[in-house]
Symmetry: C2
């Protein structure tokens, strides 16, 4: 690719799902040791953003755990970096609360026309679908949360059996771990297969390289 992306943004909101962010970012962290890349972590404020499920999002009878990790944003939605080539949108329990994700939705809508690529992981596609940006596009999402997630974008062409789906410059992946395979495929597409393979070997990761290989579609009864 003549002019591969340099500036990556990641959306953070309370109760994002950790691996949706860190699966892809771990690959990009290693890529950034090979070529100059910048990362911007965006949220409503510069306060650390926690993965902890809000009390309201917990199913009834949930145990009294104190378990989660907080990540420090580098930028806010109202003062974003001047350039963003790729935006990554994670899923998570936090997507179930519209107030919680409203600032992210607004930012994504505003910035999308200037992006080279949008990547979503898990129910990150439900969040983006809610903005209308996926209308008429092919996309996938978390298989266990399929009926809720797809209901967030009735005009999206949801693909039930897919590890990930590419439609134009929008890459959507299935649940949680699928974001790792989607990101390797993205790196292969944009920076070359040799680069993707090198990072996977260093990470001791055996990739799923077939976007249609998806045992979890059947496992969760969406096909």
């Amino acid at each position: 690719m003549a002019d591969p992306p340099v500036n990556y943004g990641v959306i953070l909101y309370p109760s994002f799902h950790a691996l949706d962010v860190f699966g892809p970012l771990d690959i990009l962290n290693l890529l950034a040791l090979q070529r100059p890349l910048n990362l911007y972590l965006l949220s409503s404020s510069l306060e650390p953003v926690s993965t902890k499920p809000p009390a309201t999002a917990k199913p009834p009878g949930s145990p009294d755990s104190n378990f989660g990790e907080a990540v420090v944003p580098s930028h806010t939605f109202s003062a974003p970096p001047p350039e963003l080539d790729v935006l990554l949108v994670p899923g998570g329990l936090g997507t179930r609360d519209e107030t919680n994700i409203a600032p992210a939705m607004e930012f994504i809508k505003e910035v999308f026309p200037r992006l080279k690529y949008l990547i979503t992981v898990c129910t990150g596609s439900a969040l983006v679908a809610k903005t209308g940006l996926l209308d008429g596009k092919r996309a996938t999402t978390n298989k266990r949360a399929w009926s809720w997630a797809t209901s967030q974008g009735p005009a999206v062409n949801w693909v039930p059996k897919a590890r990930w789906v590419v439609d134009g410059n929008v890459w959507t992946s299935s649940g949680i771990s699928a974001g790792i395979d989607a990101t390797y495929a993205f790196v292969a597409e944009v920076y070359g297969e040799e680069t993707a393979k090198g990072i996977a070997d260093a990470s001791e990761y055996t990739r799923c390289m077939d976007p249609e290989a998806d045992p979890f579609a059947e496992r969760w009864g969406v096909v």
Copy 2:
């Protein structure tokens, strides 16, 4: 298991490897929605700890990237939580600098006798090996970094071909992604296979369930 672990600690030091922490923690985050668990993120101070490689650890000719994530500790090594059942030690470029990891090494040595389990990911085992705690034990580590990592503990019985190794209450995994499979195996062992399978299905993750299945030992020439 009669009395399964409740209190998890994770060691953070500058330039830890992100997936070494968040691969395992993502599994435990989901487990904490099912049963009461506590997480303690431990470092030298309460300042956020970044994955960014220190300038000194960068190989010559490294690109000028600004790429990394910072995580907020909950406790310091000098004021740890009263109880820790399991301690997770990640690897990363930060292990190459002895000054950088000295406070973590000292804390691990001090707390080890009171732990139910110690889990290392990647070169986390090199860090622990340096303390002497793995002497005479079977352990594994990152395959690309094999010669450096194993040199940190000459009295360890290093196992070259292993996705993960269990010796007594010490679980060591191979490089980066292997921490995910080791943690699923740990969850299966300690909380039951059904629990591990449920979390993997929800995470849309296809586990490696054979601790001896390790294509990366050959890839990196350590067998």
